[in-house]
Amino acid sequence: MAVKKKLNMRKRYEVLTRGMGWDTTYQPMDKVFPYDKFEGIKIKDWSGWEDPFRLTVDSYWKYQAEKEKKLYAIIDSFAQNNGHLNVSDGRYVNALKLFIQGVTPLEYGAHRHYAHLGRHFRGEGTRVACQMQSIDELRHCQTQLHTLSHYNKHFNGMHDPFHMFDRVWYLSVPKSYFEDAMTAGPFEFITSISFSFEYVLTNLLFVPFMSGAAYNGDMATVTFGFSAQSDEARHMTLGLEIIKFMVEQHEDNLPIIQGYIDKHFWRAYRVLALIAMMQDYMLPNSPMSWNEAWQIYYVENMGALFNDLSRYGLRMPKYSDVATAEAEHLSHQTWSDFYNFTHAASFHTWMPDDRKMDWLSEKYPNTFDKHYRPRFEQWREMEKAGERHYFKGLPQLCQTCQIPMFFTEVMSDPMKISRRVSMYKGDRYHTCSDGCKDIFENEPEKFIQAWLPVHQIFQGNCGGADLSDVLKYYHLNEGEDNMEYVGSPDHKRWQEWKGEDKQDETATG
């Protein structure tokens, strides 16, 4: 009896993804797949798309199960052994608060929308890849919630991230970006999330930040971060392949795809302002500055990527030069803003101590001492005098990215606020940059509908007229979750566990 030879990887993948679909006869194909034509992307042959990992369903479950077993063994032991006591400083946990409020809900959004794509693309191979990614994203959301639930037992501000995601002002930044992608067509979504976000930018989110978690003794976060990132490597591949696939299918696709890349690079990059400050300010020990990470993962690595893609006629995203010039300012400006508005945030802020200031001077020789150190020293003086600075009032927000208008003209005058104005149907709209202005003016009907948190507060849609009312609407416990770190309930608990530490003495004087 002849023994049937095991299929090789290419064959196994082919069996999974080819010939499994069919042309419908009871209903026209365009009614069964109603979304994949209106954007004007032309696909001649769906079988031209191939997943280079050639992952089949059985190997997908096998490897994912193995990842989960490893991860949950570590999470369990972390919780059992009170791993939170081993992190470098209580301040560090504020980065995790921002993570669970601002990133975890994005994972859930990605889960939902890849499930949608897994139904609505016409090609079977593409559908299979989107379905696997949808399951991955749900796994990320769940593992993040499980891991961080241990911190939630011991620190404030992490009790209701999904409620906050839908309401809190700074969380409207990641939310509005993702919803912009989710309300677009399937090709725009996949360019936005799989390529501009996952391929071009997530290395900046997960790699230095998770390495930073390792550097700060947070075993649990490193483990879920890298476990998620192992899927992410597959998602990045999907992003790159889908771009190549789309431009190979028809020459008319090129300008549409380049437009999507330009738009979503800038949208996703603006969200990363939060990551820049996490990396430089919220990690007590930072293995790498935002600017260094930007040089490696954007300038160098994306330079290589777009050299490769130039054979298709694609070029670097528009305003890459602005983002690179901003790399020396971004984290300082963002941290300053949160320091000013931390009375309305569900995490704490603080002024860097001397050691951190010196690290910032070293990492940012062109900008930190010149523009930011004096301001921070002034705020430290005010703190010592018992006048910790909070900005009383609400900021103007950018109509596109929804970030308060604190970015500056980094190409010409870094101390001048960058402000752009567009008129549409007799109304005036403000944006923070040329990138955001272009996006607004390309789709004004979409962006005039933006749910801007400040406008909503003024219109009375956020629980009431004063801060306490709004914080209640956010489910934020006033005096516990918000305000300065030094003297906060988190800080007091940390001191009870660990004793006084030197950093607190320098910070408080």
Partner: protein, 90 residues
């Protein structure tokens, strides 16, 4: 010189024979240990061979297992039963 591709693995026991195989088979690869992870860079092309990893590990290694310890990568992927490679075409 060709642009660099890179591969980042978790810094753990599973990754060790993979890194040894990469060092042996890719002369121009540079290996940079950072907290929790190892970043491997190589101009133009980087390959991980099944036979080499199997040799260093003393146990059969399937290139798909790379997924378990992979943190990130950059370059066009070419994977088959016997190898996993990253490259830029320019």
């Amino acid at each position: 010189m060709a642009d660099n591709v890179f591969l980042i693995l978790q810094d753990n026991e599973d990754a060790r024979p993979i890194i040894e195989a990469i060092e042996q088979d890719n002369q121009d690869a540079t290996i940079d240990y950072q907290p929790g992870m190892v970043r491997i860079e190589c101009p133009g092309r980087l390959v991980v061979n099944r036979d080499s990893v199997t040799e260093f590990r003393g146990q059969d290694w399937d290139p798909m297992e790379l997924q378990l310890n992979l943190v990130s990568l950059s370059g066009n992927i070419d994977e088959d039963d016997d190898y996993f490679a990253l490259s830029w075409s320019s």
